[in-house]
């Protein structure tokens, strides 16, 4: 977009020599602020985003960072142009005469549509590719299966490969081993979500849904939440998720009465 594209439709409005080149000034402000914003975001993002604890949430976080890098100049474009207009083109009283009218040229309109269209297409393609990578891995015999059942207002977890259920309603997961959650509900809709692992799927009554195969990469203690309104004690429906090393996992399985 250039100054030439926004031209006054009447001839009398050629800017006087003394008048500053508003368009150049606002463009420079926009570019400078965008660069500063993007650099700041890239520096600060690791401190703002919670630590990613699985392969899925790493991809999700990367997508979040990329979208924000694109969002900063887009938002600043509106903010900077608007702020500049309000600062430099304001009048204190009711204006007595009208400024020259501006009309957008076809070039500007097509260019604007082109830029937003390309941005939009990029978002779509990035999202599809990233999500395809996340969901492409199929369950193998090595994949740990955890059956999740939601009910008002608790989760229960079964480990069918070990013939046990988690007695204290805790999900125990071995680090670096792929796991898939198979989710259902006994009564109403619940939402199964482990933020740190980047898995999320609804628990529907009478239906079975699965999450993508996810590999926890960080040992630590996380939470599983219910993210769909499920009634009275919805906000108490969260339980612990512990990612541990494989020997701790095996002893935990034995503890629960299973056979590793």
């Amino acid at each position: 977009m250039s100054e030439a594209n926004i031209t006054a439709s009447t001839a009398s409005t050629a800017p006087a020599e003394q008048e500053p080149n508003h368009f150049r000034r606002v463009l420079i402000a926009w570019i400078v602020l965008s660069v500063v914003g993007i650099v700041l975001w890239i520096v600060l993002a690791p401190f703002i985003l919670p630590a990613a604890a699985s392969n899925l949430s790493s991809t999700d976080d990367l997508t979040f960072i990329v979208l924000t890098v694109l969002a900063i100049p887009v938002a600043l474009f509106v903010f900077v142009f608007l702020a500049y207009s309000l600062l430099f083109f304001r009048t204190r009283e009711r204006p007595t005469e009208d400024p020259p009218p501006l009309k957008p040229r076809p070039g500007l309109q097509i260019g604007w549509l082109g830029v937003t269209g390309v941005l939009c297409l990029f978002l779509f393609i990035w999202g599809m590719v990233a999500y395809y990578q996340e969901t492409a891995a199929a369950a193998t015999p090595n994949t740990l299966i955890v059956q999740v059942t939601g009910q008002q207002w608790m989760w229960t977890f079964n480990y069918p490969q070990y013939g046990v259920s988690s007695q204290s309603q805790v999900i125990e997961l071995p680090v670096n081993r792929p796991v898939q959650f198979v989710v259902t509900s006994e009564d109403v809709l619940h939402g199964f979500a482990i933020r740190a692992l980047g898995v999320r799927v609804d628990a529907n009554p009478g239906e079975i849904t699965t999450t993508p195969v996810v590999t926890p990469t960080q040992i630590g203690n996380y939470t599983v939440n219910c993210v769909e309104m499920c009634g009275l004690l919805h906000s108490y429906m969260w339980e612990a998720v512990n990612v541990v090393d494989s020997s701790s996992f095996n002893s935990w399985i034995i503890n629960q009465g299973g056979h590793p």
Binding site: I6, I48, P50, L56, S57, D60, D61, T63, F64, L67, A71, V74, F77, V78, F81, L82, S85, L86, R94, P95, D98, P99, P100, P101, L102, P104, Q109, W112, L113, T116, C120, L123, F124, G127, M128, Y131, E134, D187, V188, L189, G191, A193, R195, R200, V201, D202, N204, P205, G206, E207, T223, N225, V227, E228, M229, G231, L232, H234, S235, Y236
Partner: protein, 641 residues
């Protein structure tokens, strides 16, 4: 046209008795409605031997609405003229429009579109006030971890009522007050196409409000504003029925209003008011009510199905008997997503309208802007699936829904180009309406961009169902929608009420609201990013800090509400009179006197020769010729005087 004074006096007696004043009016409506509801409830209770309180309550709500309408005189005309086979005379029409009835006409079955518009305006403000009390209760509860101030049951009911009351208020906030008061004058009409349906749509809304209030005495409802089944069906207390009937009656009211507005704009435009010259507000309102025609019927159907599940034990949504919760979710979001644009589109149109007037410059690319609003409307009906990415019901459609959703950013970008271009090199008279438009633009950029994160599958995977979503839709619905409403409110209030709102209090209102709003919901974006789910009566300790900050900022919003209420109250009591053309606008409503006379235009209807945005154009005469050439579709019907 004017008739002889003698006929009028015979029709309107000098002195009306108290009974004649009260019947028909809202007082008789309430009396007849309550008596009817109680009688019908007793009959149904006896028939079911007291065993089905949902059936009793459903009957009572239906009877309340019907007998309220009987009591307020909604059917009087049908009986008198429908069966009498006589057209009402002009005097009778004017009588019905509230001629010579003073302030009492606001409490009667009055057909004048300006009366209905003001009724809608006051109702909108009251609903906002009630809804904001719910919002502040929510911020109070979430200010500290644990359920400290309310029980989870009370909290859930507050969240649900805050949500649904605010949604209803936001759906009517522009199309109700401005769509009724301003739009007919803008297009050069003397009233709406169907003045009686106009009164019907308002009084249905009025009768609807007590229904949602009764839920407080019937155990509330636990579903939040979305009313998801089978949770709603499973609830034992009858507070859930109140929610369902609230939606059903509101859907009827909205549909009636929508058909009326569309018909009015199609047939009652004055000579020369071609589609090409239609002010942008009219486009915004028409597109909004067109969308609501696609949206609200499915919402109403879903609630009828829930009521049937509750009353007759059908099983549309009960998995144990072959039902499915996905049915509800899809019906709901098929309504729920267009509904967002029902709210936002007219506010964006208000923003454009106000910008042109105060920048003293035509809208930058007016056709382009209208095109973008049309594009947003078309796309908005095919994107509802993004609410259900992780429901398990539509995995194969994730990609198309994602593409549709992100395509909306293209027409939205065009809207921003139009508004930024309108201010660029304008002569901007920074008044309170302009401040609120700036609020719309700033908030809508944030609301729109955060929508991209929720539309993109990988990021939605960590954000879906969390506070990030809550913050996002508050940025669109409040930040763009309600700020746009307030821009229109400060802009048209002098025309609608004839008095000038205090500009200093208006500025204070804006700054408190905007700063409080940004602080509150940016904190909640962060809470959602680190994983806080929605609808939390009991805040978990990791999310305490952003919630406390959000609650502190909400104090500023609360202060802004009281500043606004104070401003409106003192202006009604002793505001200085406004000019007929308070801001120097060029749309037709600024050409008529204030207060606007009955039938709007004294004498002949105006003839329109150009668009209302030709600021800085040398002469409108040439564009008149162009205008008639480029728009061959001249209106067939002129509102006859």
């Amino acid at each position: 046209m004017s008739q002889e004074a003698t006929t009028e006096t015979t029709l309107q007696p000098q002195r009306r008795g108290l009974m004649q004043e009260l019947f028909p009016s809202v007082v008789s409506g309430i009396i007849v409605g309550v008596v009817g509801a109680v009688v019908v409830a007793l009959i149904v209770n006896a028939l079911t031997q007291g065993g089905n309180q949902d059936a009793t309550l459903s009957a009572a709500y239906t009877a309340w609405v019907f007998f309220f309408m009987v009591g307020i005189g909604a059917f009087n005309d049908v009986i008198k003229w429908g069966f009498g086979r006589r057209e009402p005379t002009h005097e009778e029409e004017q009588q019905l429009a509230g001629k010579g009835q003073g302030l009492w006409r606001y409490f009667r079955w009055t057909t004048d579109h300006k009366v209905v518009g003001l009724q809608y305006l006051i109702t909108t403000l009251l609903l906002f006030f009630v809804g904001s009390l719910g919002a502040f209760s929510i911020r109070l509860e979430q200010s500290m971890p644990g359920a400290r101030f309310f029980t989870p049951s009370t909290y859930n009911t507050i969240v649900g009522m805050h949500g649904i009351i605010m949604i209803v208020a936001a759906v009517i906030m522009v199309a109700g007050p401005f769509g009724n008061f301003v739009v007919p004058i803008m297009i050069g009409a003397r009233d709406m196409a169907f003045p009686r349906l106009n009164a019907l749509s308002y009084w249905l809304l009025f009768a609807d409000i007590p229904i949602i209030i009764t839920t407080l005495f019937l155990g509330g409802f636990q579903t939040g504003w979305t009313g998801y089944a089978p949770l709603q069906v499973a609830q034992l207390t009858p507070g859930a029925d109140a929610y369902c009937f609230f939606i059903i009656v509101f859907a009827i009211s909205t549909t009636v209003a929508a058909l009326n507005i569309i018909t009015t704009v199609m047939v009652l435009r004055t000579r020369g008011m071609t589609w090409g010259r239609l002010p942008v507000l009219v486009w915004g309102v028409v597109l909004s009510v067109l969308l609501s025609l696609t949206a609200f019927p499915t919402f109403m159907m879903s609630q009828i199905m829930v009521v049937m599940d509750r009353v007759f034990q059908t099983s549309f949504f009960e998995a144990a008997f072959g039902g499915n919760n996905w049915v509800y979710e899809h019906l709901f979001w098929f309504f729920g997503h267009p509904e967002v644009y029902v709210i936002v589109l007219p506010s964006l149109a208000v923003a454009a309208e106000v910008s042109a007037v105060f920048a003293r410059k035509g809208i930058f690319g007016r056709r382009m802007l209208v095109g973008s609003l049309v594009g947003i409307s078309l796309l908005s009906v095919i994107v509802w699936g993004h609410h259900l990415y992780f429901s398990g019901s539509n995995d194969p459609l994730d990609a198309p829904f994602m593409l549709d959703t992100e395509l909306i950013s293209i027409p939205t970008g065009v809207f921003f180009l139009a508004l930024v271009g309108t201010y660029w090199r304008g002569k901007i008279w920074v008044t309170v309406p302009v401040l609120f438009v700036v609020g719309v633009l700033v908030n809508f950029v944030i609301g729109g961009i955060t929508g991209i994160y929720l539309a993109d599958l990988p990021t939605d995977e960590i954000l879906h169902g969390g506070m990030f979503v809550t913050a996002h839709f508050h940025f669109t619905l409040v930040g763009a929608g309600v700020f746009g409403f307030f821009a229109g409110f400060y802009y048209w209030f002098p025309k609608m009420v004839g008095k000038r709102l205090n500009p200093f209090l208006g500025q204070l209102h804006f700054w408190l609201f905007e700063i409080g709003f940004l602080g509150t919901f940016i904190s909640l974006f962060y809470a959602g990013l680190i994983g806080e789910p929605r609808w939390q009566a009991n805040i978990a300790p990791p999310f305490a800090v952003p919630n406390t900050i959000a609650s502190l900022f909400a104090i500023l919003i609360a202060a802004s509400v009281f500043v606004a209420v104070y401003n409106v109250v003192i202006t009604f009591r002793r505001g200085e009179p406004a000019l007929a053309n308070e801001w120097g606008g060029k749309t037709l409503e600024w050409t008529v006197p204030t207060p606007v006379p009955l039938e709007n235009f004294p004498g002949e209807l105006p003839v329109v020769t150009s668009t209302p945005y030709d600021y800085g154009e040398p002469e409108p005469a040439p564009s008149d010729v162009e205008g008639s050439l480029e728009s061959p579709l001249l209106p067939h019907s002129q509102a006859e005087s």
